[in-house]
């Protein structure tokens, strides 16, 4: 199974990269984009097992290494591989 980890900046934290993407989209002529927030996506390959246990373990990984919780939120999703 896999753990899909999405790391995003907390609301209110300035995201200059997101802002640059937003400006670039506007220059490309894409309209209607009100805001862009850029984040990270990390995929972990895990041995098959209990989803709740895996989620708890990956959350611990986020707290200790994958995210900086001063400025970042994280979301963990456990999925079976197809």
């Amino acid at each position: 199974m896999k753990a899909l980890v999405h790391i995003t900046l907390k609301p209110g934290v300035l995201d200059p990269q997101g802002k640059a993407i937003e400006n670039a989209l506007s220059h490309f002529g894409f309209e209607g984009v009100r805001d862009v927030r850029q984040g990270k996506y990390i995929e972990l390959d895990l041995p098959d097992g209990d989803h709740a246990d895996a989620e708890a373990a990956v959350k611990e990984m986020c707290e200790r290494l994958l995210a900086n919780t001063v400025i970042e939120n994280y979301r963990v999703e456990i999925v079976d591989q197809t």
């Binding site: 300035l14 200059p16 400025i71």
Partner: protein
């Protein structure tokens, strides 16, 4: 004074720091590899600039978990002075020895030039050879130097006078135009609550000898020698 400089894979200011420290100390600091698990008996630990672990994941995040950092934290808890410069500052925030975080520069560019700093406090082991309010010229060279902390944390830093340096213009005025990276309140360096740990983005070691084009950085190393010898 006895000092150690920590060397990570990707550090590139470790030897500059060694030269600057040697010049003030009159002896050489120990160079300690990140994979080591023990530090010699020292009064100062210096964490240098560079791109430890290629800045993978987040600047300083990998280095913060390297074996030697446990020992650095242990020494710091005993009151041993710790100085983190540039990437070293990022490493100290990632280890939790200093609060806040260094984010990508506001203009998204790597900024490499001399800046002016206002010395905010002169009652620390790092700054006694300066005078509070003094303006000094020191180089910066970083991509992630945009200091951020939540409002409560910021209030605490200000209340406890733990902002060590702020970006200013040549006259000492704290202006947005003089802020090279978007740091909150022009913060260039901060102290921990014990005032024995300093993290700063600018590089005092790069202007610590007139032959380098200036020596405004030297007083920081001289302060350490007079406080810790």
């Amino acid at each position: 004074m006895k000092a150690a400089v920590i060397v990570f894979p990707g550090s590139n200011c470790d030897r500059d720091l060694k030269v600057a420290l040697s010049q003030s100390m009159g002896s050489e600091p120990a160079m300690v590899w990140h994979g080591d698990t023990a530090l010699p008996d020292v009064d100062l630990i210096a964490v240098p600039g560079g791109f430890s672990y290629g800045d993978y994941l987040r600047s300083g995040s990998m280095a913060a978990h390297s074996p030697i950092m446990k020992e650095v934290s242990r020494f710091a808890s005993r009151g041993v002075a710790v100085l983190g410069i540039c990437n070293g500052f990022q490493v100290l925030t990632e280890t939790g020895l200093l609060p806040g975080v260094l984010m990508r520069n506001r203009n998204l560019r790597f900024v490499c030039r001399d800046v002016f700093l206002r010395v905010e406090v002169d009652d620390t082991v790092f700054s006694s050879a300066y005078t509070a309010g003094q303006t000094i010229r020191v180089p910066v060279a970083h991509h992630d130097g945009n200091y951020f902390i939540d409002p409560d944390g910021h209030a605490q830093l200000e209340d406890e006078q733990r902002v060590a340096f702020r970006y200013c213009d040549e006259t000492g005025a704290i202006t947005d135009a003089a802020n090279p990276n978007g740091s909150l309140s022009n913060i260039a360096g901060i102290l921990d609550p014990t005032r024995r740990i300093l993290g700063m983005m600018p590089h005092p070691e790069r202007l610590s000898d007139p032959a380098l084009g200036g020596n405004d950085g030297r007083a920081l190393f001289d302060s350490l020698i007079s406080a810790l010898s």
